[in-house]
């Protein structure tokens, strides 16, 4: 390395040092600390007491840990595919030449920028079993709607449906993706006799797979960390039917003074997220279209 190159390298390091220092102090440091703390019993107010893997063993024996994992797993399993389908569907609809297109796009996007707490409170009204809008609408077609947020069977599905309210953010990304699909591919498909369904299946969706993959990864990570809706609308109830993982983690950390257990929960979640992300990345070789590079053998 020449003297000039060394000089440039030093300057480069100095230039990135605010971020690097910030990362070490505010991200990497707490990450390592939480990992160490996950092997301790710590109330925050006394020095942590090392207990080895007892915190993790305790989690395995804690029925609410499993309940929160189950609730979060079910939510992720249904929310992610549904949000991808709805988001892509809305984007496809709004990618056509419609009258008042900008207005439609704005209308669909708007809910995603409204505060989560405000939206949650709005939905409490909409889903009220007696005078909520949804049950009133259902009663007009002779259906007696359930107690959406008050029943153990319906509370979680309600939260999954409510989450679709925020589909505007992902719709915008799908829309950008749809507009970057080369038109000559559609022309070629049309010449080959493909109808609307064929064009969607053989052109649009394959070309959108990088974006679908991106949304899938982010969707899964986001779904595994849901907190606000459950905290505001159901507080984990009724009877733990919506006890999301992060809500239970929060309770352990700040309500029950069990920061060691909460740290262990955080690491279990991190491992689950990493494992699922790795599986998604591994599977992406099989279904995500790579414009350049990719596996030449296929």
């Amino acid at each position: 390395m020449s003297r000039r190159q060394r000089h440039e390298a030093i300057e480069g390091y100095i230039a990135i040092s605010p971020w690097a220092i910030g990362y070490v102090v505010f991200v990497a440091g707490p990450l390592i600390a939480s990992f160490v703390l996950s092997f301790t019993e710590w109330s925050l107010l006394r020095p942590p007491k090392f207990v080895g893997i007892d915190t993790y063993a305790g989690l395995l024996a804690d029925s609410l840990f499993w309940q929160s994992l189950k609730v979060t797993g079910i939510y992720t399993l249904f929310y992610v595919p549904l949000s991808i389908t709805v988001g892509l569907g809305v984007a496809l609809l709004l990618n056509r030449k419609l009258k008042g297109l900008s207005l439609w796009r704005t209308m669909y996007y708007l809910p995603s920028i409204v505060s989560g707490v405000a939206v949650a409170l709005l939905w409490v009204w909409v889903l009220h079993p007696e005078f909520g809008l949804l049950n009133m609408a259902l009663s007009m077609v002779g259906i007696h709607g359930p107690n959406w947020l008050g029943s153990r069977a319906w509370a979680l599905p309600s939260l999954i449906l409510i989450a679709q309210w925020n589909v505007g953010g992902s719709m915008l990304i799908y829309l950008a993706g749809l507009q970057s699909v080369p038109t000559h591919l559609y022309d070629a498909a049309a010449i080959d006799g493909a109808g609307a369904g064929g064009r969607l299946l053989y052109v649009t969706i394959p070309m959108m797979t990088p974006i679908l993959f991106y949304q899938l990864v982010l969707g899964v990570i986001g779904a595994l960390q849901v907190f606000t809706e459950a905290y505001v609308m159901t507080n984990g109830g009724p009877a733990n039917a919506t006890l999301f993982y992060v809500l239970y983690l929060y309770r352990n950390a700040f309500m029950f003074f069990k920061m060691g257990k909460a740290s262990a929960m955080a690491w279990v979640l991190a491992v689950v997220i990493m494992a699922l992300t790795a599986v998604m990345f591994k599977s992406s070789d099989r279904w995500v279209y790579q414009e350049s590079g990719g596996d030449e053998r296929r």
């Binding site: 925050l44 007696e130 005078f131 109830g237 009877a239 309500m255």
Partner: protein
Amino acid sequence: MLNARLTRREALRWAGLLCASSALAACAAPAAPPAKEQPTEAATAAPAAAEPTVAPQPTQVAEKITVVWSFWGTSDPAFIENQRKLAAPFMESHPNITVDPVPTGQGYDEKVLTMLAGGSKLDAVKVSSEVLSNYVAEGALLPLDDLVNKDTTFKLDSFYPHTMRKNCQIIGGKLYGLPNGESAHVIYFNAKMFKDAGLPDPREQQEKGEWTQDAYFAAARALAKGEGANKVFGTTIHLDDSNSVLQWLHTNGARYFDKDFAECTLNRPEAVNTIQRLVDLVKEKVAPTAQDQQAIGDDSSALAAQRLAMEPDWGIWETVTLKEIKDFEWDAVAFPRGSVDASTAYGPHGYTIPVASKVPEAAWEFNKFITGPDVEKSFIKDGIFECKHPVNEQFFLQNAPVKNAKVFIQWISEGRVFTPPYNPAFPEMRQLVSNALQLVLTGEKTVPEAMDGVKVDMDKLVKEVRDKWPDAIPVVE
């Protein structure tokens, strides 16, 4: 010799370096703030909450001290400014002490916990009665007994004796907090609804000794009417919050635990029967479900909007909302007598001093001031506190924004109070009981089944408390 001409590349490089060093400087620890002078506003513009108070006598300590003061409320700058003004008379009389209020906003308990864990400076800390024993059990709070004994100007008996509660201020025989907040739990009611329905006024019933829980439930059933958006509920019963059942249980001879805190007793007949009666009110739609409650708003708002006839088990702070009612007559009456007892749950919060405080004497001086009779007057006028000092009794009776002000202090002065069995595992226990009650409301379990179920988990926590925190075992009253 330096070349005086800079190329564009070099200029950009130096600019980058300059930006980087500026950012680094910004990341560095801030310079020590300038020493705070006496507040310039002093008490010239006292806020609504800060009625001018009589300044205590100046102390003779020369050293400049800052007392960091935390309390719950909002992080709204106007609110913080009001609190600052509230402390102004104290700073006038203690020129060497600056009181620095901490804007904690929402999530107060979490913030205080994090600040204490992180070593942030906190000196005078208001701690909720429910978690006070957690802080004590973990050795985070300073026992105040030595400060009390050394202080010739302070007398604990300036408070009503029954405001010093075991499980709250007093844990393991030591004093940890000066009482603040809370009040007797009473029933607020819409007097017009009673009159219109031809029901006897609760105050008259109480005077005649007829204000029983049977009478209460009968009135609630008679006053519940309408459907859908016009539904008026007779009462609220917050079964999703186990704390709200405590008073009903206690007055009917039931307890969370046995006298020795050896086991949970919620599955005993007196507890099961009491809970069953409350559950019935919700199932009959006399009391709102959790979803109904979210739709009609909190209790005081629902009462003010005439969607609720009676709101039970609330303290004086509800008058902050209720005093704005102009359309109908409302008042407060004592909690109705149960099958065994007429008493009120009472667990005042505490003004405490963390062990880590470097200025405990100054914090003590401030805690005396902020819980003292002079400051109390401003809270009384706003309807936030009842009086905890006998010296303010007349002032309270004349100025509290509620007709039947006496009901808030009578039982406390007479000692007809009990303290919930707060202990270091209480927040977790509370959650367990709430979940069990929700299972009853969803119809998945009967009350006896749910209480048998919760006893198993509660007993595990009882054992944990006994093993881990023997000094914080609660007194079961």
